[in-house]
């Protein structure tokens, strides 16, 4: 959920805040929040201070200019 929020432009939310964000769809389903309401979601902490999510580390690119075109073309 941290990655989802960040990729949707909400920044690197704290772990607990991303959990609260995950509750919003459920709250909409239960009619606890209406579509047109003004809602304040608190991001109470910084994402970078919590344990990082499990992600595969990026591969290290060789410092060989002849290999770079293939890497760039794959972006």
């Amino acid at each position: 959920m941290q990655a989802y929020a960040a990729r949707e432009g909400a920044g690197f939310l704290g772990l607990e805040s991303s959990a609260a964000l995950a509750a919003l769809p459920l709250m909409r389903e239960r009619d606890l929040i209406d579509a047109g309401e003004r809602v304040a979601l608190f991001d109470t902490g910084a994402g970078f201070k919590s344990e990082p999510p499990s992600m595969a580390p990026p591969a290290v690119v060789p410092n060989d200019p002849s290999a770079w075109p293939e890497i760039v073309s794959g972006l």
């Binding site: 459920l26 608190f42 109470t44 919590s50």
Partner: protein, 334 residues
């Protein structure tokens, strides 16, 4: 705000037992209510504050959360300890709002505080006030961000700090404590066990207990969340607040803020619906609400940790005021 004056414009009047209602003088160092061990709440001379704390006055001030000094407890300007806390942005995450079909979604970005969390607010005010009242050694249990906040503000205020953390607390929080020069005790136990050890440190070393709701002023710092929310929303509070909750002091503080702002005539009687969100594995506030309890009891078998959080359970709308925590929301059938 004239920074050259020695005295702040605090209108702090007395402390009041959150359940007993007993009044105590506010100008000596106090922990919990001697009558029942519950939290003491700071009360202000709101009539005196009314003429000074206006929308225009606040808008013209700088200084983060200290812009609200009439409704904060520190009396002497030299004891205002600041690292730049408060005045965090209210962000409109428009793409996320569309995906969630909540057009008026805003995020209050508390990570912009100096220690990376809203805990800076509570500790800035509580440490300032404790040191003003003579405390020299401050102690708190913490499983996360309160630890670094206490360490940072104690260092800034020139006080000693000791933090007791569960051994599996995030490493970044541990590092923050040590970098700031506080003593860190890692305990092979839960946060409730850390609280017991912290209280022993207080008893044996004459230190002051800064644990959540065991002193009156962390709530006062967190109260500024509510002040800023009112200001951010043009003095017309939002319909709903969704708050990831640990012990609930942020919600309590906001509710207190709204009552004080209403008493000053700065907002009306309408209140947001307050939603406490906790993970299934550690949900003391949600459980207290569901059981109709006035106070949340410690969760003794917490299973939620870090990114291993399990499914979420949003609490229903509640009134988080301490003396009737969660009850009014249930009574009004929402």
């Amino acid at each position: 705000m004239a920074l050259s004056r020695d005295r702040t414009d605090s209108t702090l009047a007395y402390l009041e037992g959150s359940r007993s209602g007993i009044r105590y003088g506010a100008d000596e160092l106090r922990g919990t209510d001697p009558a029942d061990g519950r939290t003491l709440l700071a009360r202000y001379d709101l009539e005196a504050a009314r003429g000074r704390l206006t929308k225009e006055a606040v808008a013209g001030r700088r200084g983060g959360l200290w812009r609200w000094e009439e409704l904060l407890p520190v009396r002497t300007r030299a004891f205002l300890t600041t690292l730049g806390e408060g005045a965090t942005p209210l962000l409109p995450p428009s793409r996320l709002a569309r995906k969630l079909a909540i057009s008026g979604l805003y995020i209050k970005a508390e990570s912009a505080n100096p220690t990376g969390s809203f805990k800076a607010r509570g500790m800035a005010v509580a440490v300032s006030r404790a040191v003003e009242l003579g405390a020299t050694h401050l102690v708190a249990p913490s499983a996360g961000n309160a630890a670094g906040a206490l360490a940072a503000y104690a260092a800034a205020a020139g006080a000693r700090a000791t933090v007791v953390m569960p051994a599996d607390a995030p490493f970044a929080n541990q590092v923050e404590v040590m970098v700031c020069g506080a003593r860190l005790i890692l305990l092979d136990g839960l946060i409730s066990d850390c609280g017991k050890l912290a209280r022993l440190v207080c008893e044996e070393k004459g230190a002051f207990d800064m644990a959540t709701l065991r002193e009156p002023y962390r709530v006062e710092g967190k109260k500024t969340l509510g002040f800023e929310l009112a200001e951010d929303f043009g003095w017309n509070l939002p319909d709903a607040v969704v708050y990831p909750t640990g012990g609930g002091t942020g919600l309590i503080g906001m509710w207190k803020a709204f009552d004080e702002l209403e008493a000053l005539g700065l907002i009306g009687a309408a209140r947001p619906r307050m939603y406490a969100v906790q993970s299934d594995g550690c949900a003391p506030i949600v459980r207290a609400y569901q059981q109709g309890a006035d106070f949340a009891e410690p969760w003794t078998d917490a299973t939620t940790r870090g990114r291993h959080s399990r499914a979420l359970r949003p609490g229903r709308p509640s009134d988080p005021r301490l003396s009737s925590a969660l009850r009014r929301g249930r009574d009004r059938g929402s």
